[in-house]
Structure formats: C-alpha cells, structure tokens
Symmetry: C2
Subunit: 230 residues, 2 copies
DNA sequence: ACAATAGTGTCTTTTAGACAATATGAG
DNA sequence: CTCATATTGTCTAAAAGACACTATTGT
C-alpha cells in the first residue's frame, strides 16, 4: 500500500474511543478488548478506531459505528465525553482521540471474539494496566456518569423497557457506589414524573413488583435543558 | 513549500478554537476576529489555529497558546468544551476542532489589530452570521457557562482579585440573564465559604463596599469534585 | 404460617424563595 | 442632611434526609 496522501505539515490521527457501560450481576462494567499487537500487547484497551474521513462520517456517526461493531445494536445512547490528545499517549505517533460513552441494557453480548479482539465486559472498579491512557479515560467517563445520573435520566438506558423501581434503584446504587433509602428514592423518582407505571407486574419468588416504563414525554422536556454537554 | 508528509489515508486537520469570555459594560462578550480571506471572508470567527504537532504540544497547551496570542495573558482559566467535527463544517476540508472556553477579567484588551485579525469583543446575545459552525460553538459554550456557574466557582475568573459582592452578583446576573435577590444571593455565596472578606473597602460615590477575595483553600477542595469535566 | 420482597407515611433538617428596613459614607 | 449604595433578618415553601411498619405473593 503506497502512501498517497501528502500534507505540508505532520498530521495527527483522529480516533474515536468508546466506553460502553452496562450492568452485570450488580456490577458496573464496560467493554474492553485485548490487544494482540504492540504497543501494549496483552493489555486490555477500549474499543475504538480511526475516524473514516473518506466516508465523510461525523464524530457521532463514527462512535455509533464502533458501538455497532462491538454490540450489533443500532442507535445506542452515546454522548461525547472528552477529547484526549497528549503527545505521548500513543507511542506510534500523534493520536487525538475523541472519547464517547455509551450505555446499554444488561444482557448484551459483545460481538463474538473475532480472534483479533476478544471483547469482554470488565468491572469498572479495580481495572489497572490498561493500554494507552485508557485507565484515565475510563475514570473520566465514570465521573461523568456519576455526575449525570443525579440530574438526568440516563440511568434508564441501562435497563430494559420495563423495569421495577427496585431495579432502577439498583442502577443508581451501583453507579453511585452507595446505598439509598428506598422510600426517599421512590419519592424522588416519582416526583420527577419520568416513569409511568404499567399494569403489568414482574412475578419473582415473592410479591410481584409493578413494572414501570420510561415516560418519554416528560423526559424530552426535561432533557431539553440538560443535553448541553454540561 | 513542498508537501513532505505522506500518509496512507486522508487525514483530518485538528484545530483548537477558543471562546474567550469577558464582561464589558454589563454585557457578556467573547472575542471574535474578522476573516480576511475566504471562506467566510468578512465574517466574524472564533480565534483558533492548528494544533502544532511538530512542537509536541498538548491540546490544553495549544489552547493556552492561542489564548496568549489573543490576550497576552498567561495561565488563563481554560476548559475543554466540546469537539466539533462535522464533515462539512469547513469547506476547505476535514477539520476537527477541539473547542475550549476561557474566562478573563474585565478590562483585558485584545492583542492589537495585527491587520490580519482585527480582534474585538462581541456581545454574546445577537451574534449571527459567524463563520463555519462558530455560532453553534458559542451557543454550546454559553450553555455550559450558564450550567457551570450555578455549582462551581468559575464566576471568579471574570473578576479581579478583589471584588465586591455586588460585582459578583452582577456577574451571575449577566451570565444567567436574570436578576437575583440580593439577600438570598449573599447568603448563598457566604454559605459556600468560597469568598473571604478583606479589611479593604472600595470607595465609590457613596457607602464603600467591602472587598472580598476568592478563597483558594475551600475552592480547591470544592473543585476537586467538580473538575471532572462533568 | 412463613419467607421474602414490595410498598408506603411522618417528622426533621436543610435549602431556596419572597420580602423591606437600617447603616454608612461622600458630597 | 441628603443621596446612593451596602448590608442585614425573618417568615414561608420546597426538597432532602432519617426512620419502621404494613402488604402481597409463592411456597
């Protein structure tokens, strides 16, 4: 392959990296792949790839494309997180990466281990030794997630369409890493008007719990003042 | 100048753009330059420039460098805002811009009109017709500023080292674009412990007001949980 | 009936909002 | 003493926090 593109100045590469969060067995996890080649061979890394300039894709589209490649799911919740561009973050050259975080409901399986990748869900606590600056990227994503869950409705992205309030509370507790009072939590959620109760119930071993859905109408109006990437 | 740098794929350019806010005559303003060449000749644009890959500068350093070029001030408050990369945002080619916002105290003069630039402070309300996607960038910056002023101490960046509480309230009112109750505002600010009163007073036409300073100690601890770009 | 989870009510504390009179210093 | 701005206090309303018992279903 010959080098066909010429520039008067050295150009940085632009990649999009993804922190795909999900909840597995009461743990907040994110998707990692194993690097099969240097640098950082054998270390775990965030999924990501080059922005495909020749396709004319936007950054958001690149993030959605990568997310689809890993999960086979379209139109996932993604949001730009931060752009990392320290000169030494990649030993091969100057690489600017625009990081996005993504939330998927429990139960999603990573796209099968394409030999080259070996994708796995990894618990967020106690990850070390990631490739590049990815440990830092994950930390920033986690901070953002913690910050945003308090005043947005993104938690719903981690649950199926119908869920119980106990399940919702679990999501909050897992992300915030603290226990919440059941009564206060329910009052808080209900007063927001973001959930609507259905007539269905989830039968477990004991008293069945009401199933709720995310109330799109009120959510949209509330999100209007929240989506400003703040 | 020959094109010396070759790549196997088309590369995007990476620029850093700045929204430099200040307050002038009770108006929130930001720095614009006039474009002297196409595209968008004659339109106003945000100051910015290419990331200098050969110098090995970080994104933050590039932002500080640009800010210095425009204001002659070092170590200004800057924070990464968002990365814009739509394929058609610059008609000359694929340009990814990492936007930073920056806050400077009142009274700073833009670096003199270097012919090529003609820098000016422009009120944030009623800006239209900016070059590229810069109107959108400014809107995002303004939303972020409004969001952050409520729960961080960034407002102090817009004031001199010593300021009166009335001046501080003015900053809040100008940014939020609403009036605030004087007593409630003062209670709110004082309860945060972010300001320390000095023994000096500012003599105006009438009763002199106490001068306050930003209280770095408490600020640092409070900032610790706020600087996570959330 | 019992085990296990779902669901609810009240008091207290804190924070935010509305509101107007007094204090001080320059001229 | 007058003008202009600085400064302060209280009542009310809303939100957050602490806390424990009853309800429902499967087994």
């Amino acid at each position: 392959m010959s080098k066909k593109y010429e520039y008067a100045f050295p150009m940085p590469s632009v990649t999009v990296d993804l922190i795909i969060f999900t909840i597995i067995k009461d743990q907040l996890c994110f998707l990692t792949i194993e690097r099969k080649h240097p640098p950082f061979r054998g270390h775990r890394a965030l999924p990501g790839g080059f922005l495909e300039v020749d396709r004319g894709e936007t950054l958001d589209e690149a993030a959605q494309r990568e997310a689809f490649e890993e999960t086979n799911l379209k139109d996932l919740f993604i949001e730009q997180l931060y752009t990392f561009g320290d000169p030494n973050r990649d030993p091969r050259g100057r690489v600017i990466t625009v990081a996005y975080y993504c939330l998927v409901p429990s139960g999603v399986k990573p796209v099968a281990g394409d030999d080259a990748k070996n994708a796995e869900w990894t618990p967020v606590y106690g990850v070390a030794d990631m490739a590049f600056d990815h440990s830092k990227v994950v930390q920033v994503a986690l901070d953002r997630l913690k910050g945003k869950i308090a005043y947005t409705n993104i938690a719903y992205q981690l649950l199926p369409k119908r869920f119980t309030l106990t399940e919702l509370q679990n999501v909050y507790e897992i992300i915030l890493n603290e226990t919440l009072d059941k009564r206060n939590f329910r009052r808080h959620i209900m007063s927001r008007g973001l959930v609507a109760s259905t007539k269905e119930r989830r039968g477990g071993a004991h008293r069945p719990a009401k199933l709720f859905t995310f109330n799109q109408k009120t959510a949209d109006s509330q999100l209007a003042c929240l989506t400003s990437t703040s």
